[in-house]
Assembly symmetry: D2
Homo-oligomer: 465 residues x 4
């Protein structure tokens, strides 16, 4: 019953707001970033003297109640919500990481993945720092705690010189909040105002809207912003290589109502559907999405193709983690635990089935059979992203080479494997065009194997993290 | 953050299947009926000699794990999932109720509400039966355990003579499963086959699909079906008054993929949208639903009106029960914790906003403001059900008279209160027409105050249950 | 690591005290009665209109916290703490039982065992009452709820006419507290004053001392006391057969500081040790107890024999339920998980080992080996009660016939089995003499098989309860 | 309801045993060391390649079940049980601490307190190590992980050069177990054999007995022992200052059945009672202990004085942490929640009341009143240790200067405050004599303020840890 989707590894949030209950706002901010990570959640708050922390395994709403929020008094805070693969689902990897350092207490929340974490980790061990987890976020925390530099400003700049890969950081010290985005701008990070005097930083603008904050701008790639009692200050804009925004934020990750480069992701996804209709039309009666993530692309496809938009699959809204294993009978019905077909809409119809991506390819086939069993006479699958042929080494859990169906099979083979009448993916050009920023740079590693960062170190080892 | 929706009080499930792991199938059946009640869940299993039970507060997936399922061995079972208002959220009200009786063990699961529960309860107390809960389902259980009749068949028939109101029951004895539906057919109940030799009964057909069972037919109003080793047998068809199916099952309750009277509820709701477009057109640029329940009606409205269907509101998928209270700031942003607007779709647009129903009217206003703040220039609200002017006394938590906005205000007043440019409800005729069974009888109590059953007893008292 | 001791089945408590926080006092009362049952605990409180209940599996201190105590407001309450064998460790057997009846709400807590529960249960089923548990306490509750009589006074008297066996009850109605003791006086029950206007009832006087109440007197065998706003009133003294107080309350059950018939159990147990020394002297160097329960008897034996009292075994104070199974190695060390010997005290010594009772005989042998391994040259075991040759049918979990070592073996055989140099039990006469009330009647069923109540019904069936 | 006793801060355990289930044996070892710390427990196991850890807040039996033990596979392990004051009861202080280091994984369990922790901590921060807790045990762990030395042997020796204060360590690396005891020998640590090829290290010998291991010898003050596949090897015996064993291990901490310097603590405590009787006789009828810890001293006092030993106070065996607050009434009864007097033994008696120590003096007064209320005509209090006039800075939570009654008051003042007829403490000479090793050195800091280690650094700050 797992989704066949890439999985994100984190959402970050930070706030400096003397007039607000910062822990409570951080809670609701994380709540709206829950889609970026469902494994653990944490909030660290400073009252100007010390940092208090609460973090646990679980969803944001499970981790926090009024009792756990009460001790988190202060005027600046960071929060984190984390996804992880099952293997390393451990409390010691939960964030924020908080340590005492020679410059006082420090808390760090991280979204992304360092590609040179192995080297940096080794450096720390050689320097005599014992590490308690396999997380590259602990590596970042200890690099900041013990790295060169007399001030946090200097330490953060030194860190950016040393770090390779994807990182959006919120960093909390005794009296300041820092927002840091890697020079490639791989993942989103934005800043806004809350109330008269407060400032807030978040992975996505939806977190700002949720707490009633005003979106101000995106944090620039390579930028370090410090927020203290005098408001925000750009500490540095590190020399930036070519921009390389993650395309999967456009395709699937970010919430449809979040803004990136001035438009909502919903609009970008409708545009992907339109491009897809232009590139790969189909002779059909209805367009239906795989709910919920493919709905905007299906609407776009329907608009551009003139084929009526409809619903063909109902998703069980209450589905969630169950610890009960299906037996053989249920394994055969399988996908119906998650989706049920709407026979009246499908009976005798030629269907365009829109999905936003195919990773392993293990759920599309059963969905197609479900549609056919419900009476669909033709199924034309259209995917609003290019074939995923390479893993991600920059913070997305995308599956490994042998698991990726488009790495193992040609498109006709996949077509055959899924049992569809036709299959087409959106082209990379079409995808980029749909972002509305064809000139901006994007990370297309998972589609082309050309990553913006040197990843040879990462490939050498098997990650447990 | 509560929905402004009526709340159901239960889903029932039953299975007789010697070749299956009946508790496991019951679990997945309940899992797909979760939308009918999220407060508690329970499963009772018979192995032919004794009945074992597990029930707890919580969602189905929280109540059961492999440890709690393991002792539930047998070949026949019933399951129950329950909604209740906060006041009486207590384990002693959780179902199934299981008792030892002179005829052996007995388990009962109930969906509905008896209108003469007060009288029946008093009779039991006078007969010297101590009652442990305020639930009318315990009243039913003790009526069956101690009522007249030498056999379960007789006892069930006597019960049906005495009971007034809504009841779909699954009843488990040592060696038989019974399915019972009230003579008005107020709520749905259907029967299907599972495997070679098994039979299954459920509130909705979606539960049959989920476990790979074949839908056979609906249980007739007034019918008692017994399922034992010789398969199903109609024990009785009690004399039936006019049919009175609950219209809210068509509007909101039942899952869109469930079948009622031969069509999916999705199709019925698309038809409601079409009727609504015919009755109350609007001069507008886009049609958007209040997600998720109004999506089919919005699709229907768009189809019939020719105005493009779009999405205008994103619902936080991970929203759920949080124990954290919003502070004043957050209370002001309010509805944004649940919905966020898609500005690009709304900017400068005249919007038709489709909702399936308005109960108290406390969330529609904030949604309208959200749309306007996001740039909508006109908001025309269309509701795919008639105004709710009366409470329900037959198993639906619909709010009381003073809470119902359509009881307190005229439609122009509501229009004004919500701040919409125009407001229209679907007519009762239109609603009935959209069911495709205009000749069948429906309960229209909440719209007209004319209930199919005498409710004078119920109105006299304040319910705790 | 189980004790080789009989197990009690309950402690009861009741309070009527308008000026006190009755739930809190009930909590601390139960806390001091924890030795009478460790499986579940519950408190029911009446505020004059309705009864509120909280009960759960676990120790008193686990079941209650300030949150669960808060709703228990009122001025009269009963509490219960329950032991049960593993088989029926279920929440539905936890007490108090609370039901609504024709006379209003009713709560019952019970210590003991009805010998005619089977017949009474059958009567209830035939009368049409569905029963939810296997507990004879639910039988009592439903007998009171539905039995003959226009008032609670009458109902309780009718109950006492019908019931056979052991029962100390605390009964709570809307506005009165009742204390009821069976005509044989099998288990203890006493009454005291708390504050200016309050009254309290408890299984043992230690509960009165713990909450600062003054002991007034024991409830007489066969007596019903009602406590309402006018203070206590004797409703009835039912015709009493011969007195038959449980001798094991003297030997092991009741706390040493509790008063029975005007003396502490500690004094009675010291006297048992003295009698034992007189009846069965030993030529030895030290007297040591099996801690903790045999300490007073060992002190008495030392005093009467002139042999110095010493400690030879240390009991692990923190031992408690562990879910970790010992492996083979640990099974061999076995008893050392619970007791460790004091080699300096034992080395080269002839030891009198005092225990208060032997039930199955499975722990005494390992203890004796432990003493020998630690250097004891002779071990003379002395037991301050007679051989247990029969089970108890009156509320004590004593083990069944085949488990009782003294049922299966002669004393020389036991001596041999345990590996002691000599073994002697206290005579029944000696035991009775040590109570200081040789003329009072005692239940000696477990020693002689002559029970004060007809138990033929009980023996016929296998109990689950 | 707190004890008026000093509190220990830890028990340590380690095992190297290829033929055993080392995690299981560690569990039972910790179980028998539970008296040394009840706040948290943890076990770290190595299988030769990596270290797995489980630690949590709670008692040993609460922290571990078969599920948490299962992943702890390997052939060498350490375990830890920790006490802490409420203030710092946090999971991040729980032990063992496990880190990855340049030499591979490392786990550390610590009993004691470093007096120069502040300086060492500052050094680590300056070296750029971020610290996650306030615990000096994390300081030790990071010192070992990053300290000078190419091997663990060297690193441990460097550590011992740098560390001041009390420390018994068990250290686990990938393939070796180390046992380390500070040069003063402040707290006990011993080594034994388990099975044919296994070795075990523990704070007290009772842990060896519990798992069926044979006591071999104490680890010498200043000794480092390494245990690998070739068995134990003494890595170093660091130059030792004067021996300074903690006298409170003799008085109260260590379990009575544990061996120190060749005798059980029970024997040492009986000897303390004898010395006390010689130094401070009393004209009285009975000797009673404050149970349980003062029982051996009371037996010794009785033996030497010829006054009969008796029990006068019963301790509630089931008392434990309750979250229910006593109200005013209960606060007045106070001590009776924990102890109840035995009136028959006390009535008209002149009582010698033996306690092993008085720290704050807040429970002795209520106990004395309890005895008088129960009829004692005279109460002569005798304490089997000298007055505690100074705090401990070496790993015992002894209270601060202003809390110590013997710091604030003279003995006549205390006598008066407690309301006793006479009060006498054991002399320091008498205490040392009772150890049987008058020539060995002992830490007498809490009695005389003369500590074996320089503590000026510690006194300067307020500890949170």
């Amino acid at each position: 019953m797992m989704d066949d989707k890439p999985q994100h590894e984190c959402g970050v949030f930070g706030i400096y707001a003397p007039d607000e209950d910062v822990a409570r706002l951080t809670f609701f901010g994380l709540y709206s970033l829950q889609h970026r990570g469902q494994e653990s959640a944490g909030i660290a708050v400073s009252n100007g003297r010390r940092i208090n922390l609460h973090k646990e395994m679980g969803l944001v709403a499970q981790v926090f109640d009024e009792n756990s929020l009460r001790p988190l008094q202060g005027h600046l805070a960071i929060g984190h919500t984390r996804y992880s693969t099952t293997g390393s689902s451990k409390l010691q990897n939960a964030q924020p990481f908080v340590v005492e350092s020679a410059l006082g207490p420090l808390a760090v929340g991280h979204n992304g993945n360092l590609t040179n974490a192995h080297d940096l980790r080794q450096e720390l061990l050689n320097r005599g720092v014992g590490l308690t987890s396999s997380s590259d976020s602990e590596v970042i925390t200890q690099m900041l705690a013990g790295g060169e530099g007399r001030t946090w400003d200097e330490k953060l700049r030194v860190f950016m010189v040393r770090a390779q890969g994807a990182y959006c950081l919120t960093v909390l010290t005794k009296d300041a909040l820092f927002a840091v985005r890697d020079p490639w701008g791989l993942h989103p990070l934005c800043i806004g105002r809350v109330g008269e005097t407060g400032w807030v930083v978040a992975s996505e603008s939806c977190a700002l809207a949720t707490i009633g904050a005003q979106f101000e701008r995106e944090v620039a790639p390579g930028e370090i912003i410090a927020i203290g009692e005098d408001g925000p200050r750009t500490v540095a804009r590190m020399p930036a290589p070519d921009r390389a925004m993650c395309l999967f934020e456009y395709i699937y990750f970010a919430r449809p109502d979040s803004l990136v480069e001035g438009q909502t992701l919903h609009a970008a996804r409708v545009a992907q559907g339109r491009e897809l209709a232009r590139e790969s039309p189909a002779d059909a009666d209805i367009v239906i999405p795989v709910p919920d993530s493919a709905v905007p692309a299906a609407i776009g496809y329907a608009q551009a193709s003139g084929i009526p938009y409809s619903e063909g699959l109902i998703k069980n809204r209450y589905i969630g983690r169950t610890f009960i294993q299906p037996d053989d009978r249920l394994r055969k019905v399988g996908i119906q635990l998650k989706f049920n077909p709407l026979a009246d809409n499908l009976e005798g119809k030629r269907v365009v089935l829109i999905d936003d991506s195919i990773v392993r390819g293990n759920t599309s086939g059963p969905i197609v059979r479900l549609l056919r069993d419900a009476g669909a006479v033709e199924v034309h699958m259209r995917v609003s992203s290019p074939p995923i042929r390479h893993p991600c080494f920059l913070g997305v859990d995308m599956a490994s080479y042998p698991e990726l169906i488009a790495h193992r099979m040609s498109i006709p083979e996949i077509e055959d494997f899924l049992g569809v009448d036709s299959l087409a993916y959106l082209s990379l050009d079409g995808l980029v065009r749909a972002t509305g920023h064809a000139d901006a740079g994007f990370c297309q590693g998972c589609f082309t194997g050309r990553y913006p960062v040197d990843i040879h170190l990462v490939e050498k080892e098997t990650f447990e993290n």
